[in-house]
């Protein structure tokens, strides 16, 4: 279950419309490294492990990403508010306007609609945590690219906040992965990954056979 708080995680107050910039920022909503994919990735991956710590982390970061999706959407919405046709005509935003007017639609900066193929839920938590760390870095790079293109401090400020969160998430996923990999020496961990299953069965047989009752 989720519950909605009527506030943004970090304030977005953009007073000057800029449809060309909106067309770029929208990528962090529905693009290949955007917040929609990030949230769906972590919330989908939670079921592949019995490690309660990792489930907690995926739940909490997946939830925060929903809040980031809302922030990116707010930026796009404010950048496309009160536009005249003169503001739209001849800009990169014109093609978007034909398909979506000024509605917020999950797509990449290149206009490709959101695709669930941008993420995996592999059913192997160690594999998934590796992807999660890469995903945070890819999103961080995308925010860096946006920050190089943005001049308006009102847009720059919330984007900088979002970029910083990618770094914290990367760190937390790294810690989760390390704690996990260190557990490989323990009996329970072999059950987590199908790659270890055969070894696990053989090991159990070995343990059983070597008992002296």
């Amino acid at each position: 279950m989720w519950s909605y708080d009527r506030r943004l995680q970090y304030p977005v107050k953009i007073t000057k419309a800029d449809p060309t910039m909106a067309k770029k920022v929208i990528s962090q909503f529905g693009g290949p490294d955007g917040e929609l994919g990030a949230s769906m990735r972590y919330l989908s991956q939670r079921y592949a492990t019995k490690n309660k710590k990792v489930i907690g982390l995926l739940t909490d970061i997946g939830t925060e990403e929903l809040g980031h999706m809302e922030m990116v959407s707010a930026i796009v919405h404010q950048l496309t508010s009160n536009l005249s046709m003169d503001d739209i005509e001849g800009t990169d935003f014109a093609a978007y306007y034909v398909d979506h007017t000024v509605g917020v639609y999950p797509e990449s900066a290149g206009g490709v609609p959101f695709n669930a193929l941008t993420f995996q839920s592999k059913g192997d938590i160690i594999t998934d945590l590796h992807e999660d760390m890469a995903a945070e870095q890819k999103a961080r790079t995308t925010y860096d690219n946006l920050l190089r293109l943005i001049k308006d401090p009102e847009i720059y400020d919330p984007i900088r906040f979002l970029r910083q969160r990618e770094i914290v998430h990367y760190q937390r996923f790294g810690e989760a992965k390390s704690s996990y990999v260190n557990k490989i020496a323990e009996d329970t961990c072999y059950e987590e990954s199908s790659a270890y299953t055969l070894f696990h069965i053989l090991w159990k047989i070995f343990l059983y056979k070597s008992r002296y009752y």
Binding site: S3, R6, R7, Q9, V12, K13, D60, E64, H77, V168
Partner: protein, 86 residues
């Protein structure tokens, strides 16, 4: 348009909530860190009190915080992504 008082209280709630959330992520991977757990427990009542003042003064922040028994106020104020909102 919201008042300075509302904006400032919302800013405070955002700051305390962010501190709690970032501590939660840290505790997820460091569950035995007593210092972080103390910090978490120090922040929770600060948020509770600020949210209670906000809800009583400016309206609901969550759909289960509608105080009015005569009208449905959830949809009355600006939404957070609106320029005049929080």
């Amino acid at each position: 348009m919201m008042s300075i008082e509302q904006y400032q209280l919302m800013q405070y709630i955002n700051q305390v909530s962010f501190a709690i959330h970032d501590t939660v992520l840290y505790l997820d991977t460091h569950p035995k860190d007593e210092c972080a757990l103390d910090y978490y427990h120090k922040l929770i009542p600060l948020k509770k009190q600020a949210v209670s003042v906000y809800v009583n003064t400016f309206g609901p922040m969550n759909a289960d915080q509608v105080n009015s028994k005569t009208s449905w106020t959830w949809g009355e104020n600006p939404w957070p992504w609106e320029l005049e909102g929080c």
